[in-house]
Amino acid sequence: MSDIANATSTRQPASPDLSPVARPANAEPWKRKDRAQVVGVSLSAILPALFTWFFGSTLALDATVAVVAIFLPLQLVASAAMGIRIFGRRGIAESLLITATVLLSLMVSVLLLSVLWSVISAGAQTISWTFLGQNNVYISPTTSLEYGGVGHSIIGTLLIVGLTTLVTVPFGIAIAVYLTETRGKARGAIRVLIQAMSGLPSVVAGLFVYSALIATGITQYAGWAGSLALLPLMLPTVARIAEEALRLVPAEYRNGALALGAPAYRAFLQVTLPAAKTGIITAVLLGIARIIGETAPLLLTTFAANNTSFNLFSGSMSSLPTYLYQYISNGNDTSTQRAWGAALVVLILVGILFTTARVFGRAKKTTSKSLTKAKSPRKAN
C-alpha cells in the first residue's frame, strides 16, 4: 500500500506547493509608517502642551492666558509643520482640520466631565440614607446636613412622572400607530407637528396649566397639574421613537398576519407590537428621562413642599427638580450642598433610565445572534 502511494507520488508531475505560508509581519504594507513621521506626529501632539505646562507653571502664568497665548499658537504651528512634512502644502489645511476637530471635541468632553465630576464629587458628600429618606419639614436653609433630605421629593417625582407616563405612553403609541399603521391623510402634517411640539418651551407648558387650572381656581397647586404640564413635553419623544420602532418591523410580518385573516387591530397587538417591544421600551425610558429633570413646569403647577405627600390630587408637592431649585436659590453653603445631593440623585435616576434603555436597545441584537448560533448545530441533523 505504501509502495503504491510512494510510486504515485513520484510519478506525479511536480504539482504547485499549496501548503499555507505563515503571514509575514509586514502583510499590511499600507500601514507601514515612516518612524520619523510617527515620532514627529507624537512630538507635535505632546510638545506644545508640555511646553505650555512648563512655562505656565514656572512663570506662574494664568491658566487661560497660558492656553490662549502659548498653547494654541504653538500647537497650530506644530500641526501645520507636521502637515507640510507629511502631505506637502495641502497638509496645512489637513492637519489644522484634524487639530481643530480634536481640540473642539476635547473641549466638549471637558465640559461634560466637569458637569459629571462636580455633581458626583459634591453630591457624594451630601448623600446619606438620612438625606435619601427624610423630608424637609423643620429644615431651614442653614440646618446641618445630618437632618432632612429629599425623601419626599423622590416620592413626588416618582408619582408625578409616573402619572404622566401612565397617560402619555398609550397616547404616544396611538399616535405612532396613526403614523405607521394607517393611511390617514394628515400623517405628514402630524409628523411635522409632533416634531415642532418637541420644541415647546417647558415654561410655556407650565404657564398654560397654571393659568388654565390654578389661576382660574379650578385647582390649587397639585401633583396632577404637574403631570398635565409634563405631558406635552414627554409626548413627542415617546411618539417619535415609537414610530421609528414600529416602522422597523418588516412589512412581511404584518402581511403574514393579515393574510391569515387577522383584523388590523389584532395584527398590531399580537404581531407588530411584540416585534417592536424593545423599541417601545426605549421610547418610554427616553421619554421619562426627558421629563424627570423638568423644573419650570413643576414650579408653576405643583410648587414646592416640605412634607411628604402621596396625594397627587390635592396640595402642593415636592419633586427633585423643585427641591433643587429651592436650594440653589437659597445661596448659602449648606443649601448648595443639599442642591448637589439632589442633583446627584437626579443624575443617578437619569443614569439608570439611560443604561436600561441602552441595554434594551442591545438585547435585540444579542438574541438574534444567539438564535443564529443555535441554528447551525440543528441544521446539521
Binding site: 402581511n255 403574514g256 393574510a259 391569515l260 387577522a262 389584532r266 404581531v271 441554528k375
Partner: protein, 260 residues
C-alpha cells in the same frame, strides 16, 4: 378534524392599477377545486399582483386599483358587504420569503391564525399536530414545539408558514414563489406537500421555475407584459399542453427558455 371541501375560484376580467398605471388587463381564469394551477411568466408581468388580488391582499398597497370580479363558489369576494378578513380566512396565502412570527414559538405560530382571527379550537394540540403533519414538518419539530420559530432553517420556516395557513383550514391556498428562497432539498419537500394538499384544497402557485410548474401543476397560465402594455394572460390550459404543445409562439419561446 373535519376538512371542508375545496372550492372553485374564478376571476373575471380582473384589472389592476397602481396609481394611474394599468398593470394587469382582463385576466379571466378558472381554478377548479382540488387542482393546482401554476402562474408563470417573466418578472414584472403581474402574476404576483394577480395572486394578491385573489385574497384581497392587493388593496393593502397604497394607490392600488381594481376592476372585475373574483368569485369563490360563485360569490364575489369584492362584493359589497364582504369583509376582507373573512375572505383571507377562507383563502390562505404563503409568501415568497418565509415569515413566521418572530416573537412566537413554533406551536404558537401554528395557532397564530386562530388567535389572530379571534377563534377558538377545542383541541389545540391536535390541530398543531395535524397541521404540521399536513405540511410534512411534524417529525422535525415534534420535540421542540416551544422553541422560537426563528430557530428553524429557512425551508422549515416556510413549511411552518404553510402549516400556519393550513391550521385555518382554507378552501384555497395561494403560494407566491414559495421556494425561491430555499435550497433544492427543501424545494422538493414543499413540492411533495403541495401535491398532497391538492387532495383537500385548491392551490394557486406563482413560480419562476418551469420544472416546478411541470412537476406540481395540473394547469398553467402564462402571463406577459410587453413594453408599456399591462400584463395579461397569453395562454391558459393544461400544464402538458402549455409546455409541450403551446399554441402561442411567445409561450413556446418562454417555456423553452428563449427569454425571461
Amino acid at each position: 378534524m373535519a376538512i371542508t371541501t375545496a372550492s372553485a375560484l374564478h376571476s373575471e376580467n380582473v384589472n389592476v392599477w397602481f396609481g394611474e398605471r394599468h398593470v394587469l388587463k382582463d385576466v379571466s381564469l378558472t381554478f377548479p377545486s382540488n387542482q393546482v394551477t401554476a402562474l408563470i411568466g417573466p418578472s414584472g408581468c403581474g402574476k404576483s399582483t394577480f395572486l394578491r388580488t385573489l385574497n384581497r391582499m392587493h388593496e393593502l398597497i397604497p394607490g392600488a386599483g381594481f376592476g372585475g370580479r373574483v368569485l369563490l363558489d360563485g360569490d364575489d369576494i369584492y362584493g359589497d358587504g364582504v369583509d376582507p378578513v373573512n375572505v383571507r380566512i377562507k383563502i390562505g396565502m404563503v409568501f415568497q420569503k418565509p415569515n413566521p412570527f418572530p416573537t412566537m414559538t413554533i406551536r404558537d405560530n401554528v395557532l397564530s391564525g386562530l388567535k389572530l382571527s379571534g377563534r377558538k379550537t377545542n383541541d389545540a394540540d391536535e390541530l398543531v399536530e395535524t397541521s404540521l403533519r399536513r405540511a410534512s414538518i411534524w417529525n422535525e419539530v415534534r420535540d421542540r414545539l416551544n422553541d422560537p420559530a426563528l430557530s428553524l432553517s429557512g425551508g422549515q420556516q416556510q413549511r411552518l408558514c404553510i402549516a400556519r395557513s393550513l391550521a385555518m383550514d382554507p378552501q384555497v391556498l395561494l403560494m407566491d414563489e414559495p421556494c425561491s428562497a430555499l435550497d433544492p432539498g427543501s424545494t422538493r419537500r414543499i413540492e411533495e406537500t403541495i401535491v398532497e394538499l391538492s387532495e383537500s384544497m385548491t392551490i394557486v402557485i406563482v413560480t419562476h421555475n418551469m420544472q416546478q410548474a411541470q412537476r406540481v401543476a395540473d394547469q398553467t397560465a402564462f402571463f406577459l407584459a410587453t413594453d408599456g402594455n399591462p400584463g395579461h394572460v397569453v395562454e391558459f390550459g393544461a400544464t402538458e399542453d402549455i409546455f409541450e404543445r403551446p399554441r402561442d409562439s411567445r409561450t413556446n419561446d418562454y417555456v423553452n427558455g428563449h427569454f425571461g
